[in-house]
């Protein structure tokens, strides 16, 4: 990252200091691996963790009920600008590919449900959205940054995970083959 001056990290000049730093970092890594509260195992090609929620329209949202459909599970929040950039595309996909078995499900990671509800209406989301929490986040390996989208096939297996500002064309190319013709 060229934007960060080299001095910031207090980079050690001598080999001895460098070794000490590496040793300290190594110890940190070792300790954190044992203490990490978030799941580090990948969910790829495994059954998507099940959950039941009440959506923003007060309807029951049970992931299991969408078995047989290809699900895009999108974690978002109102403070996440990248998430809002994706939303119009998700709305279009739901209309275009819904009849072929695509179901988009949104999980808002906002602390305040009122904010999520406001954006849900403003963006005219045509798919169910429920509020998330730290428990659901941990279930999905830790939602420690947004946007985060999981592609789940019709058998309920996680086929892909898209983190950060992903290439939406690439996401579309990955779910299309999983849909009904």
């Amino acid at each position: 990252m060229s934007g960060i001056p080299k001095a910031i990290g207090n980079a050690p000049c001598t080999l001895r200091r460098s070794f000490t730093v590496k040793l300290l970092l190594g110890l940190c890594v070792g300790v954190s691996a044992a203490q990490s509260p978030v799941a580090t195992t990948s969910l790829l090609h495994k059954q998507a963790p099940q959950f039941v929620r009440t959506d923003l329209e007060n309807r029951k949202l049970d992931l299991r009920a969408y078995r047989g459909k290809v699900v895009l599970l999108d974690f978002w929040a109102t403070w996440c600008a990248s998430c809002q950039i994706e939303m119009p595309r998700f709305v279009a996909w739901q209309s275009q590919y819904g009849p072929r078995g695509l179901q988009i499900i949104g999980i808002s990671m906002d602390d305040d449900p009122a904010l999520a509800r406001k954006l849900y209406k403003k963006m005219k989301l045509n798919y169910p959205v429920a509020m998330g929490d730290d428990k659901l986040g941990r279930l999905y390996g830790g939602v420690l940054g947004l946007p985060l989208t999981y592609l789940i096939d019709s058998q309920g297996n996680v086929q892909a995970r898209f983190r950060g500002e992903a290439d939406l064309n690439s996401i579309e190319e990955q779910f299309k083959p999983l849909l009904r013709p």
Binding site: V38, G137, G145, G164
Partner: protein, 165 residues
């Protein structure tokens, strides 16, 4: 000779067209960073994750105050050990919470702010929180540089984390 020239210019035109359409698509998808984003923080005040890991082992009185100024839901899942939640910097209530937390501190105190909610150029929290502390007269404020988010640039790298409130 002529056919070769025509073919070459055809390929060049095709490449230019492909480049233009790709750049248009990218521009449409990746709109500019909003005002007040983390980009407003001077480079000299940024702290790399590995530098913060070293600071975590500081035992003297120079130990920094580490504040997360983003989402509480993200904080409860995982945060930098010893750090405190100080409210979302993008909201007035969050800025007030931050102000209350640091008000009594000496202005030379080393304070490290971090968020990691989203990609650096999209973070709405760090910029306002950083600006508030500078406005209050704090002279030793750093911002943890997390290019993508807390998960990718901290937790996944194996740096230490804690869960809970």
């Amino acid at each position: 000779m002529k056919i070769g020239l025509v073919r070459r210019s055809g390929i060049t035109a095709l490449l230019v067209f492909a480049f233009l359409s790709l750049s248009m698509q990218l521009r449409a998808q990746f709109t500019p960073a909003p005002a007040g984003s983390a980009f407003s923080i001077p480079d000299a005040q940024l702290l790399k994750p590995e530098a913060l890991v070293q600071l975590l082992h500081t035992t003297n009185k120079d130990k920094p105050l580490i504040l997360q100024v983003g989402s509480h839901m993200l904080f409860t899942q995982a945060h930098v050990p010893g750090s405190e939640y100080a409210g979302p910097g993008s909201q007035p209530a969050g800025i007030e919470q931050l102000q209350n937390r640091v008000n009594a501190l000496p202005r030379k105190k080393l304070i490290v702010l971090y968020c990691g909610c989203c990609p650096w150029n999209r973070c709405p929290n760090l910029g306002p929180a950083f600006a508030k502390l500078r406005e209050m007269g704090f002279t030793n404020v750093k911002a943890l540089y997390l290019a993508n988010n807390f998960g990718a640039d901290w937790a996944d790298k194996g740096y230490p984390v804690e869960a809970g409130n």
